[in-house]
């Protein structure tokens, strides 16, 4: 036919075709992001492009803060000053003793031939905003890859651990709070030394899973990081036990903890620039013989010394548990066996 309809009604592809096309792309993106975690490039580019806009959006709030700060009464400032002085005095003693203990500890460690603990560098960061996502608990800080921040580094405030850096952009970084649903942190009960893993409850609390009913955990016990994950330095305060419940029908106690750090309160936080000594993601191979060789090597390293950090790159199945646990915001294996083996496997590797 030489006659064609006039271009009056041409609207391009139909809406149905378009929605199918874009939904498919969205689904592919979703699967790629949730299963493969391979879309960091898109995120980096878009995130950097959005940075100025985000700054613009934050301007009214910052201006309000500034005005509020300007009109803070002298009395309030004096009160805060006095409080800080008192705190400093209280801390001074602890600090001096701490120095002495540090020196003593270093010497004892030298005597034992154990690894020296490396002092950590840190960078101060300010919270830009809470990510507006009702499903997770994340905050965005104003320091990024340009300041040496890497994914996996712990974030603390003046009291204890707040969370862990999960994504890094050039100028900003995302931190998953301890109370995030997928977040887990290896802890130790300060009083008894019992090791466990605390999981975020998603609603402002943490819980210890797979602790046997006869374990010695009481209300008011303080949990500190155990340091066996080689991500969080040992001894940072994490949470306080607020509720212990034992049921006859359940082989494990139900233990609820309240985070110690001001997770929802602070504006300034400290990112610890810890270099994680993690092995690379294990490559799953069908080649059993290679697997066995690696495991043997890994064990040997663990026995001799903690030198396996370099060798850890090719660590396979034994390291898999540790790597899985250490990977930020990864879903944890939720079986008692896994929870029990993870800390111990990581422990031998130290």
């Amino acid at each position: 036919m030489e006659y064609s309809p006039p271009p009056l009604f041409k609207q391009g592809a139909s809406a149905r075709a378009k929605v199918v096309f874009f939904s498919l792309i969205a689904l592919i993106l979703l699967v790629a992001d949730s299963r493969l975690r391979s879309l960091t490039v898109i995120r980096q580019v878009v995130g950097t492009a959005l940075y100025p806009l985000e700054q613009v959006a934050l301007m009214p709030r910052d201006a309000a803060y500034m005005i509020g700060g300007y009109f803070t009464s002298v009395a309030a400032l004096e009160k805060e000053n006095r409080l800080l002085h008192e705190q400093q005095l209280a801390n001074a003693q602890a600090l001096q003793q701490g120095r002495q203990l540090q020196a003593e500890n270093d010497q004892l460690r030298r005597l034992l031939g154990a690894n020296q603990r490396v002092p950590l560098k840190s960078v101060m960061a300010e919270i830009l905003f809470d990510a507006r996502d009702p499903f997770t608990r994340k905050i965005v800080l104003d320091r990024g890859a340009r300041n040496g921040v890497e994914a996996g580094q712990p974030v603390i405030d003046d009291v204890g651990v707040v969370g862990q850096v999960t994504r890094v952009f050039p100028l900003t970084s995302e931190v998953a709070l301890l109370t995030d649903k997928d977040q887990a942190i290896p802890v130790q009960v300060l009083r008894t030394g019992l090791r466990s893993v605390a999981y975020g409850g998603g609603s402002g609390s943490l819980d210890l899973r797979f602790v046997p009913t006869n374990a010695d955990v009481r209300n008011g016990d303080v949990l500190v990081t155990s340091g066996i994950d080689s991500i969080y330095p040992a001894g940072l305060a994490v949470a306080k036990v607020v509720h212990v419940e034992n049921k006859a029908s359940d082989p494990f106690s139900h233990i609820l903890c309240q985070p110690l750090a001001g997770i929802d309160r602070n504006r300034q936080l400290l990112i610890l620039l810890a270099k994680s000594g993690l092995p690379a993601q294990p490559v799953y191979q069908d080649d059993k013989s290679k697997d066995k060789k690696d495991v043997g090597k890994d064990n040997a390293d663990g026995k001799v010394d903690g030198k396996d950090k370099a060798a850890g790159k090719q660590a396979a199945s034994l390291a898999a548990a540790a790597a899985k646990k250490a990977e930020p915001a990864t879903k944890q294996a939720r079986t008692p066996a896994a929870a029990a083996t993870k800390p111990s496997s990581a422990g031998t590797r130290r």
Binding site: V19, I25, L30, L53, V56, A57, D133
Partner: protein, 170 residues
């Protein structure tokens, strides 16, 4: 009831872009974890999909969704999927909705917004398995309540007379 139907001036593409940008900046504001903060981008996208389906369609909705995904630190594609479907359904009903008075229009828009929230909820439940509580859906209700305001604001430039008549009473 005979509601007058005004003949509007053509929509300015620049104004559409500015309104989308403004909605995006409103979404970027540090709202924190309050319940019931409407998703301004979704609302403005529905508005333009209903009023100007040939100018703002599914493609633009998809890209706005990607931007929201990156900013909200959600899964890449979650908002994109929700907004694409939202825009599609808005285009499907656009011929019918505009014949109703403004309150009824808001009632038509509410299920669309709820549907887009439901899509996001399903995605999140499938991926991470946690449910944020029923107050989550309050967002859409607030957004639907804002529909008359949005209509008033975004249609204002099209309601200007072409040539000002000083002698006209109104």
């Amino acid at each position: 009831m005979n509601r007058p139907h005004y003949i509007l001036r053509p929509a300015n593409p620049l104004f559409i872009a500015v309104s989308l940008l403004g909605a995006f900046v409103l979404n970027l504001l540090p709202w924190g974890r309050w319940y019931g903060i409407p998703d301004f981008v979704a609302l403005v996208l529905v508005f333009w999909s209903i009023h100007q389906p040939r100018k703002v369609g599914i493609g633009i909705a998809f890209f706005m969704g990607l931007l929201m995904d990156v900013h909200d630190a959600t899964l890449l594609g979650q908002h994109a999927l929700a907004y694409s479907l939202l825009s599609y359904f808005a285009i499907m009903i656009h011929r019918r909705v505009l014949w109703f008075p403004i309150g009824t229009q808001a009632l038509h828009v509410l299920p669309l917004l709820l549907c887009s929230q439901l899509v996001q909820l399903v995605v999140r439940v499938l991926v991470s398995g946690n449910f944020p509580g029923w107050l989550y859906f309050l967002e859409s209700v607030v957004a639907a309540l804002l529909w008359p305001v949005v209509t008033l604001m975004l249609l204002a430039p099209q309601r200007r007379p072409t040539n000002r008549d000083e002698t006209r009473p109104i």
